[in-house]
């Protein structure tokens, strides 16, 4: 009973939840704005606080992922997806860059793309890299990402590859239900995420302009610093992860990530990925909505017998997993979605 109560408190914004959120935010502030973690990194033989962060991140993803695989072991989609996300984190987001670094090469994070990894489309940085990397980045960011998004929905990235999603779907599992399901949150999301996308596109355009014209104005440099601080450090780090125990696991992905915005647009435009609703079988229990990490009120569609595609859906598949009546199914084909003006974002 005490165990249950503590768990409830931790996962339902009780005192414990607030304390953990406080500690996480404090950790991110220390990481981004101080050097206090550097001695700890050196103590375990790592050269920088970022390496320490990468190590911690990977360990947490693996431990959380094992927990998730045990919890949803009967569901093949969850097992495969979680295994892939853990693999990508361990190999591409940690081991490969560390190895490159050990070989005195530049560290490349091959599972991150522009506009999430903003620098990769900064011409000043990009065109100073060896040509295979330049080709990989341009092809992946400009062709691969939108094409795969249109074909398979945004899930191929957001819940199968991405590290932010990887953390959310592994260690973040106990807090996934805290996402805000209100229509007000949905309205805010549509404004905020597209605003960040717009800003990042604008900044990229300015950087290209400066590079071509050969004169970088101090205003653009300042804009770039500001973007890195607000979007990179505060929104994706401190807010996005620090607030897991208060706002759920996808605050960054849902409200701010420019990559998610771009993929969301391709997901809608592609009209292939959708969640199918089995007719007249929903008992309006609400588990699907409750456990949607993106705050989609799935029940509203299900109880209206409406198959749907939402831009924000990352295709984690948990709604289908928890539905006690087997109403929901993630599908990936064309021609089946009932497009209805009101329900689509």
């Amino acid at each position: 009973m005490i165990r249950d109560r503590l768990y409830h408190d931790l996962t339902n914004r009780g005192v414990t939840g607030w304390v953990v959120a406080g500690l996480l935010v404090w950790f991110y502030v220390a990481l981004y704005f101080t050097e206090s973690l550097t001695p700890w990194a050196q103590r375990v033989g790592l050269s920088s606080k970022w390496d320490l962060y990468g190590l911690l991140y990977t360990v947490v993803v693996v431990v959380g992922g094992i927990g998730v695989i045990r919890k949803y072991g009967h569901n093949r989609y969850q097992v495969v997806r979680t295994a892939v996300v853990m693999f990508v984190q361990v190999v591409f987001a940690f081991s490969v860059p560390m190895l490159l670094k050990a070989l005195h090469q530049p560290e490349y994070y091959l599972s991150y793309f522009w506009p999430l990894k903003f620098d990769y489309m900064n011409p000043e940085y990009l065109f100073a890299q060896p040509w295979p990397f330049v080709v990989y980045t341009l092809a992946a960011s400009l062709v691969g990402v939108p094409l795969l998004g249109a074909l398979f929905g945004k899930r191929w990235y957001c819940s199968w590859v991405c590290g932010c999603g990887g953390l959310a779907n592994t260690a973040g599992e106990p807090w996934r239900h805290l996402s805000d399901k209100s229509s007000a949150a949905w309205r805010f999301e549509r404004v905020s995420i597209h605003a960040v996308l717009g800003i990042s596109l604008l900044l990229t355009a300015l950087l290209f302009y400066s590079w071509f014209s050969g004169s970088k104005s101090p205003a653009v440099a300042q804009f770039q610093t500001w973007y890195g601080l607000v979007v990179g450090s505060i929104l994706s780090g401190a807010v996005g992860t620090g607030l897991y125990p208060l706002g759920g696991t996808r605050v960054w992905c849902r409200f701010f990530c420019p990559m998610a915005a771009l993929l969301g647009i391709t997901q809608k435009a592609g009209k292939r990925f959708h969640i199918r609703v089995k007719e007249d079988m929903c008992i309006s229990c609400g588990l699907c909505s409750k456990y949607c990490e993106m705050g989609i009120d799935v029940r509203t569609y299900a109880q209206r017998n409406e198959s749907f595609t939402r831009a924000s859906c990352v295709g984690c598949g948990i709604c289908a997993e928890v539905c006690p009546r087997g109403v929901l199914r993630l599908e990936n084909q064309s021609g089946l979605v009932q497009i209805s003006g009101v329900s689509l974002s």
Partner: protein
């Protein structure tokens, strides 16, 4: 139109919203003494298990009632005067209606061995949920009597809170109303694997205890000590309150209505679990929703001839999902346990024509199955086409 709806369950609220959608000027009032807002009774168990909070049970955002101008009253209706066209609330208020919809749902059936003891619970209302939550911490063992779908949900909740449970079922096999003996055995094995002390062919003879229940004695004379007794021996239309009103509508097992949901009283309709529509009661969520929609059309003046579709239902016994379509109890049918998993399919036939399906442990599209029943398909054809009706998730399709 002044529409008064008694009961804010799925039938009543669906009807109110359907009337609003077509009549922007109607004055609509929904009354219930149980809760201020419509909630999903079907999700009571998830609240008990603490995987959802109370507010999560509400299928609509609260602002919807304001936007749709659906007035609400938290009160019980105690009188109905069809001559004056009024209903009276327990709080004293009288409301006039042009159309009255009775949608008062079901209530848990009482057992003849019941006594007023603390610790004896049902699992139908929010107040039952309150009682269960209050009692759980002081319970070292619970006995749940009655092996229907609500019983197994209550058992799952108790097990979730690690309370030892003895589950008493009158029949010789689990839920024979829909499952065959083999399927009953599969479910029984599944329940036992979840730590449930399942006893078939066992019934309670009497309760023990003063104040709080301290145990039960079975018909066979065995005594089981417990601090909680769940009574889940079925539900019945909640119509007793109508027997004492000034002008009761015609009552049989439920409120008697024709296929347009009209009761014997002018302007008074009934829908959902409490209604006996052309001799039939359909105590299911989907049916209540369907009836609410149809009753709204009838109240708006459309010609309505309600005929229920082919029966279907689904349930979940702990982790074991079940889909049933058509006449699931019409015979043993062609049963096959799927190799290597806790799953089975059963195709029920009559003279070579398929009449029903009972599927355990994997997901199915009941629409496809129902269509085969409606089209009177031959059983051989259906068996070979079964994969068309599978609805398992990606990578999870069960091999038949």
């Amino acid at each position: 139109m002044r529409l008064v709806v008694v009961g804010n369950g799925v039938a009543g609220v669906t009807a109110a919203m359907a009337v609003r959608a077509r009549d922007p000027r109607a004055e609509i009032t929904i009354i219930s003494g149980e809760s201020e807002y419509f909630f999903s009774r079907t999700a009571l168990m998830y609240a008990y298990m603490d995987v959802m909070q109370r507010r999560d049970l509400e299928p609509h955002e609260r602002k919807v009632y304001r936007e749709q101008r659906l007035e609400r009253r938290l009160d019980w209706v105690v009188d109905l005067d069809a001559g004056e066209r009024t209903v009276r609330l327990m709080g004293g208020e009288s409301l006039r209606y042009d159309r009255l919809l009775l949608a008062t749902g079901s209530r848990g059936r009482r057992a003849e061995w019941e006594r007023e003891l603390d610790g004896v619970v049902r699992f139908v209302t929010l107040q039952d949920l309150d009682a269960c939550e209050r009692l759980t911490p002081g319970t070292r063992r619970a006995v749940v009597a009655g092996g229907g779908l609500i019983g197994v949900e209550l058992v799952e909740c108790l097990r979730h809170h690690r309370v030892p449970v003895t589950f008493l079922v009158r029949e010789a096999s689990y839920w024979p109303a829909a499952l065959s003996a083999e399927e009953g055995a599969m479910v029984a094995a599944h329940l036992r694997a979840q730590g449930v002390d399942l006893r078939l062919e066992t019934e309670i003879a009497s309760l023990e205890g003063e104040g709080r229940v301290s145990g039960v004695t079975t018909r066979a004379g065995e005594r089981i000590a417990c601090e909680m007794v769940g009574v889940t021996i079925g539900v019945e239309p909640n119509i007793d309150w109508l027997r004492g009103v000034k002008t009761p509508p015609k009552l049989a097992r439920g409120v008697v209505t024709d296929r347009a949901f009209r009761t014997s009283l002018p302007g008074v309709y009934a829908a959902g679990d409490c209604a006996e529509v052309a001799g039939r009661i359909e105590p299911l969520w989907y049916a209540a929703k369907r009836q609410g929609e149809a009753a709204a059309r009838a109240m708006l003046g459309d010609t309505v001839e309600y005929t229920p579709p082919t029966d279907y239902n689904s349930a979940k016994f702990f982790h074991l999902e079940w889909t049933g379509v058509g006449e699931t109890a019409a015979g043993p049918g062609r049963f096959r346990k799927l190799p290597g998993r806790e799953a089975s399919v059963r195709v029920i036939e009559r003279e070579g024509v398929v009449v029903g399906f009972s599927m355990l442990g994997s997901r199915w599209n009941h629409r496809v199955l129902a269509r085969w029943v409606e089209e009177r398909r031959r059983v051989e054809e259906v068996v070979s086409r079964l994969p068309e009706a599978q609805y398992d998730g990606e990578f999870g399709r069960v091999a038949l």
